[in-house]
Amino acid sequence: MSVVETNVATTGAMATGANSPAAAESWQPSILAFACHWCTYSGADLAGLNRMEYPANVRLLRVPCSGRVNPQYVLSALGKGADGVLVCGCHPGDCHYVSGNYYAKRRLMAFKRLLEFTGLEPGRFQVRWISGSEAGKFRDTVTRVCEEVRALGPLTTDQRQALADPVLAGAAATTQAGEAQ
């Protein structure tokens, strides 16, 4: 994906320069949330209908079912600049497709344990079941996830370091771009 410079570069939460000390105070985490179309996405819509406020740091990515969420998306997002990832689906037993969330549960449980084993803070990758009627739970969940990730601070990745470092930025494609902290 090509990098797009916009004339409002500073407005996007994702575009916040996270590494300068000055920015640290106003730092906003970027959180990607996968939401299944039938439950969580409609729960989020319901939160909208009820005008429930929650932090603007969360962007929802609609998928048909939590069973569609490939753990590789999560890993990729965390590697490319998301500070936290949330995966949401129907409660077990309520899946529109009968069983998708059961498979998701197994996969993501094992994957979450693997990520945490290799050093990821547990707060950065979370999974929650939120039904279409649980607008309140949706608001509370994203609010809490935001707070937890904010407390953890920015997730350091090679891409970020490369962009923050003018020398490295020029040689972003070279190997050994710097060790993660």
């Binding site: 990607l32 429930m52 048909p64 079912c65 069973g67 569609r68 998306y73």
Partner: protein, 660 residues
């Protein structure tokens, strides 16, 4: 290279109040492949849609991103709009700027920033949109009904009356199921045979219904509108085209064996009709007991048959046919109480009988011609104990659920016994009395007035002493231990799924619950549909119920079939999974994971590296796939992908959001 049009909607002030729409449009213009970006006051209005159509022509757009309300609101509206243009309706992405942005964030700067990100994601995804097409699936307007009990017969009759051909498959020699074994039906006490056998006759003579008795469904493949079904009709050893059902063979047959229709209380011949009004009204030979077929000696029926209809060399007939819809009505069976209730004698006492056996005992055409007598000695029982919830509501021994009909037929049995043996005494042990239904509670109260003594408690032990059955139990209302000496005990046993339920369920892709009842698609709103499109449930195969409920569900299932058959063609889902032949290594991980049995492994031969190669690959049936995408993650080789939510599209969205 794609030419994307981006339209950002104000939604009056709904979006514009907290999102700087103008700024969003300006950013959108700078995004790659965006050829046009504009705002609109009300995009969903006629004028708004017209403006998009014009922009498509003017700017040669080939795909559209709309930043507006939730796609759950207007995705279909805008797809419909695109179908009136040259653009495929699936070349559309919607950024949810209202429900998930303007309505929930008050800070305009934050809202605008998020709106920009959402538009970026939508543009990135849209850039990889592919034209998608629905398939039209022809509908074979022929229905298959599995099971010829009251539910199956009702469904078959309703579908046939709607003008569609129906094949009804029954595994027993006759239609009628459990209902035709019953003596009378509660609460009206009309004779069960009197209301059931006319239905059987109607089914047997309906021009649109083909009855296959002694038959079972062996294999099913295909999908809604196009089920390929293999049916095995077991050998009857009689040429039904010649047989007139005169019954001479049955009179002369020398072999007798216990009758399953009479619940083992009576005998039948080896060539037999299970009961007088059986449909088809022609006999079959029971190969297991027929002397001719087991020892080669006898042949009496062949000698006496005036029409020469006996065929000792008859074999099973296997036929394969195509049906558009299937109604499953395989009913229930009674729990095998003997193997789990040792405290009730475990089947050792002849006079401890099941409710269904009692039905045959009181039936005028039953083995005792309706005289209530003890199976052990033929004496009239002067005291009878009825035990309810045998196997129901008993997670320790049997099942945890309530079988729903037993309270009523227990009351019916008490009433019938007291009617036939006026000087008899009848005790009913119960846990609760559940009589919801028209006239049900009145019936139960009348039974008490008849003299049935209801004791609230379970029976803990039944044993025989000096020719009596001693029933020990507790009357929990008085808190006392009670012992009742009975001449006969009737156990009102739990309904459990038919033996075939699990096999048939897995073959048809119907989920089973913890007790193996077949599961409906939604417990409230889709009570007769299953998760497999075109397959419906009727009667007790879905869960215990009484006759009126079974009939009502059967008619509902028939209506669903009629609605389906009102269309000549069905439109398949466009956003379905598909497997890339080049990548698929045939491991089959997707096959077992699919909840709709939509994926199969197929062997294909193709040229690879100028060599002919035969290998297995997975194939998605577009009529069955519902587009959940569970298979795509199970596919490690990345061969399986979901149209409309492809890996590439989702990864582009992730990239768009994360990279700066």
């Amino acid at each position: 290279m794609s030419r994307i049009g981006v339209i950002v909607c104000h939604c009056g002030s709904n979006i514009a109040a907290t999102v700087d729409v103008e700024q969003v449009v300006q950013v959108a213009k700078t995004l790659p492949h965006v050829a046009y970006a504009a705002d609109n006051k009300y995009t969903c209005s006629d004028q708004g849609q017209q403006a998009i159509k014009e922009a498509i022509v003017e700017h040669r757009l080939d795909r559209i991103v709309i930043g507006s309300c939730s796609p759950r609101m207007h995705e279909l509206t805008f797809r419909k709009m695109l179908s009136q243009t040259d653009i495929n309706p699936y070349m559309l992405e919607i950024a949810n700027l209202r429900e998930q942005c303007s309505w929930v964030h008050k800070n305009k700067a934050e809202g605008t920033a998020k709106a920009i990100d959402l538009i970026k994601m939508a543009v990135a995804k849209c850039d990889r949109d592919q034209p998608l097409f629905t398939m039209s699936i022809p509908v074979n307007k022929r229905a298959l009904v599995i099971g010829g009990g009251i539910a199956g017969m009702q469904a078959a009759l309703d579908i046939a009356d709607a003008g569609y051909p129906v094949t009804l498959v029954e595994k027993e020699p006759s239609l009628g199921g459990k209902m035709v074994m019953l003596d009378k039906t509660f609460p009206t006490m009309d004779c069960s045979a009197c209301i059931c056998t006319p239905k059987m006759a109607d089914v047997g003579s309906h021009p649109n219904i083909t009855v296959k008795s002694l038959a079972e469904v062996e294999q099913i493949s295909g999908y809604v509108g196009n089920f390929e079904v293999t049916i095995r009709e077991r050998a009857k050893y009689i040429d039904y085209s010649l047989c007139t059902g005169c019954g001479l063979c049955e009179t002369k047959c020398p072999t007798k064996t216990p009758s399953s229709f009479e619940q083992g209380l009576g005998l039948r011949k080896a060539i037999y009709k299970p009961f007088a009004q059986a449909v088809p009204g022609k006999p079959t030979i029971d190969a297991e007991h027929c002397r001719k077929l087991t020892t080669g000696k006898c042949g009496v029926c062949e000698k006496v048959c005036p029409l020469g209809a006996i065929r000792y060399d008859d074999t099973d007939k296997v036929t394969a046919e195509t049906y558009g819809a299937i109604v499953v009505a395989i009913g229930y069976q009674l729990i095998d109480w003997g193997s789990i209730y040792g405290e009730y004698g475990g089947g050792r006492y002849a006079d401890v009988i099941s409710g269904l056996q009692f039905e045959r005992l009181v039936n005028a055409s039953g083995p005792t011609e309706g005289h209530v007598v003890r199976p052990s000695d033929g004496q009239e029982p002067k005291s009878v104990v009825i035990v309810k919830c045998v196997g129901s509501r008993d997670p320790e021994h049997g099942r945890s659920y309530c079988s729903r009909a037993c309270c009523m037929y227990g009351a019916k049995h008490a009433h019938q016994y007291l009617d036939k043996v006026p000087d008899g005494r009848c005790y009913v042990f119960y846990m609760d009395v559940r009589t919801p239904g028209k006239g049900y509670d009145e019936f139960y109260m009348n039974t008490q007035h008849d003299g049935a003594l209801y004791l609230r408690g379970r029976v803990s032990k039944i044993y025989q002493q000096n020719g009596k059955l001693i029933c020990q139990g507790e009357d929990t209302l008085s808190g006392q231990q009670v012992t009742v000496e009975a001449d006969m005990v009737v156990l009102e046993t739990a309904m459990v799924p038919a033996n075939d339920a699990d096999r048939l369920g897995s073959m048809l892709g119907i989920t089973r619950d913890k007790d193996l009842w077949l599961s409906e698609a939604h417990p409230k709103l889709r009570p007769v549909e299953t998760n497999s499109a075109g397959i419906y449930l009727a009667g007790t195969c879905q869960g215990p119920k009484d006759i009126p409920d079974s009939v009502a569900q059967a008619s509902a299932a028939a209506m669903k079939v009629a609605v389906l058959f009102a269309h000549d063609e069905l439109e398949s889902n466009a956003m379905i999974a598909s497997s890339d032949v080049a990548l698929c290594n045939g491991c089959g991980a997707c096959v077992s994971i699919c909840p709709y049995s939509a994926i199969t492994l197929e062997e294909i031969t193709l040229r690879e590296n100028s060599k002919k190669v035969t290998r297995r690959i997975s194939k998605v049936n577009p009529g069955l796939c519902q587009g959940c995408g569970a298979c795509t993650v199970a596919c490690r080789p990345g061969a399986m992908d979901l149209r409309g939510f492809s890996d590439e599209q989702i990864m582009r969205e992730v990239d768009a959001l994360c990279q700066w």
